[in-house]
């Protein structure tokens, strides 16, 4: 790693929803520490409700942790950091009353980009995700995969060094997800952004990540971090390689017991579901 400075530094983060004794009390994260190097793509994977999305929101300043600290580029996080961090959410975060291009430009308006620069940057971002022809469509007129491409374009146009992606392809079918994953790998190899990517999919994690952080069941903490030593952009053939299969199997082995635990938790009476 060229720089010793971590882009994101998570130290001893705990998070709980509600107060002890309440019906909806949930311990989402317990003593989680993680360094994400500048320019790397880190996947967070774990059973449902393990707090991986919560950690992502805490990293991005959308939530304050119950305990612990997060630093982004050396500065403690106290709220959203629109100049440093852009989000891509699971789905339907595009404003339905705006066209695709308006959505992209509005993000830049919020961020404070001058009016004259917005149009060119929006066009560039839409071209990068292959949605140039759909700039004037409304989100409802697009397929799920195209909507996520548009959300990615909105995030890219903000030109932040860090991208946080919360199961961005989670609601899509396997084939669409595969193509979007390949395209994302190409895009990101060019941009050299620091990316944290939450996913449920073992294959997606291995295909995209430089490192994969595997979470334990709730209260989540990082069980192990696995390195995927394969240059970007990843080629489709990578999926059929022995290396891919072996890494995927290793992840499966780590996750299997945690998923069992999570399923038992979700049927136990004293815990609620993790709020979205």
């Amino acid at each position: 790693m060229a720089t010793s400075e971590a882009a994101i530094r998570v130290r001893g983060v705990f998070h709980r929803f509600g107060e002890a004794g309440e019906q909806r009390f949930v311990r989402a994260l317990a003593d989680t520490s993680l360094d994400i190097a500048a320019g790397e793509l880190m996947c967070l994977i774990g059973p449902s409700g393990c707090g991986k999305s919560t950690l992502l929101n805490i990293m991005g300043g959308l939530m304050a942790p119950s305990a612990g600290t997060v630093e982004v580029r050396g500065q403690p996080v106290r709220g959203p950091l629109p100049r440093d961090i852009a989000f891509v959410f699971q789905e339907n975060s595009l404003f339905p009353w705006n066209t695709v291009i308006e959505n992209v430009e509005l993000g830049m308006t919020f961020q404070g980009v001058s009016k004259s620069a917005r149009a060119a940057r929006a066009a560039e971002a839409l071209a990068a995700v292959g949605l140039k022809e759909f700039a004037l469509h409304y989100p409802a007129q697009l397929s799920g995969g195209m909507r996520q491409r548009a959300a990615l374009a909105r995030a890219l146009s903000l030109k932040t060094p860090i991208l946080l992606m919360d199961e961005p392809f989670g609601a899509l079918d396997e084939q669409t997800r595969m193509i979007l994953g390949e395209d994302l790998s190409v895009l990101l190899a060019q941009s050299r952004k620091t990316i944290v990517f939450v996913t449920h999919s073992l294959g997606e994690a291995v295909f995209l990540a430089d490192r994969v952080a595997v979470f334990s069941a709730r209260p989540g903490s990082i069980k192990q971090v696995i390195a995927v030593d394969e240059p970007h952009p990843r080629r489709p053939e990578f999926v059929t390689s022995a290396k891919f299969t072996s890494l995927r199997n290793q992840l499966y082995g780590l996750l299997h017991d945690e998923i069992r635990k999570a399923v038992q938790q979700s049927t136990a009476p004293d815990t609620g579901a993790e709020p979205a």
């Binding site: 991005g60 959308l62 959203p80 629109p82 100049r83 961090i85 852009a86 989000f87 959410f89 339907n92 975060s93 404003f95 009353w97 705006n98 509005l106 993000g107 308006t109 919020f110 961020q111 404070g112 909105r154 903000l158």
Partner: protein, 249 residues
């Protein structure tokens, strides 16, 4: 399979049939002319009313009351609704309260309004504003209070200020519901103002209709009813059109 043209034809045929039955009842079947005037006489009276322009004063009174009442309830309802919607707690307090008040017939308080504001336009304005306030405030709370959290989170993550959030997220998310509330408020204001004019008033279209009924000028009274119906249908069509246009933008 009946197309849109066919259903329009049936609707028109139904209305024509109604007028024919009315005509036959008045001329052939011996219904008392004081109860049911000849539609031809009604038509003549309507023509006379429109040509002489005698309706203008009453129309001005009624529309003036409507405009004032709606301006008050729209401003008050949207402002108060927005303020309440800023807090989950206030929504929980006021939403059921307003819904409960909305379900009682406020027209029952007309005598009180007359005592407070007199027989003139002021009592009609106060009543119309009170009645139309509720659908507007309820819809405004619903509109602003139930904006998808993800939109707000996404906007905040991109650095949206409070103004940005209101202008680009809350307002467009809420406006379809608020516009529906405004249309409902407008319609109820119109109905309650004309209704209250028939009960206790000095002027206005409702007042004129009751005055003619008391003078037993049934044909002219029916002509005024036709006139008021036409005004109400036109106003509702305009407001519905504005609502649809507002939702499209």
């Amino acid at each position: 399979m009946a197309g849109k043209g066919a259903s329009r034809l049936i609707q028109a045929g139904f209305l024509v049939g109604l007028v024919v039955v009315w005509y036959l009842a008045a001329t052939r079947w011996g219904v008392n002319r004081l109860l049911l005037p000849n539609p031809v006489a009604v038509y003549d009276n309507l023509f006379d009313i429109l040509r002489s322009g005698e309706f203008i004063d009453d129309l001005q009174t009624t529309l003036g009351e409507l405009a004032a009442a709606f301006a008050i309830s729209a401003t008050g309802g949207v402002t108060l609704g927005y303020l309440i919607s800023r807090s989950r707690y206030w929504i929980e307090v006021f939403e059921p309260l307003f819904a409960a008040v909305y379900s009682i017939p406020i027209i029952l308080f007309l005598p009180l309004f007359v005592l407070f504001f007199g027989l003139g336009p002021a009592s009609k304005i106060a009543l119309g504003a009170s009645i139309s306030f509720f659908p507007i405030v309820i819809n405004t709370i619903a509109g602003f209070g139930h904006v998808d959290r993800l939109f707000v989170t996404a906007a905040r993550s991109m650095g949206a200020s409070d103004y940005h959030l209101f202008r680009h997220v809350l307002l467009p998310a809420a406006s379809p519901v608020i516009l529906t509330g405004l249309r409902m408020g407008f319609t109820t204001a119109l109905l309650s103002i004309i209704g209250s004019e028939t009960l206790a008033s000095l002027a206005g279209l409702g007042h004129r209709i009751v005055h003619l009924a008391e003078a037993m000028e049934m044909a002219r009274m029916f002509a005024y009813i036709v006139f008021v119906v036409a005004i109400a249908v036109t106003l509702n069509a305009i407001v519905s059109r504005l609502e649809a246009r507002g939702k499209r933008d």
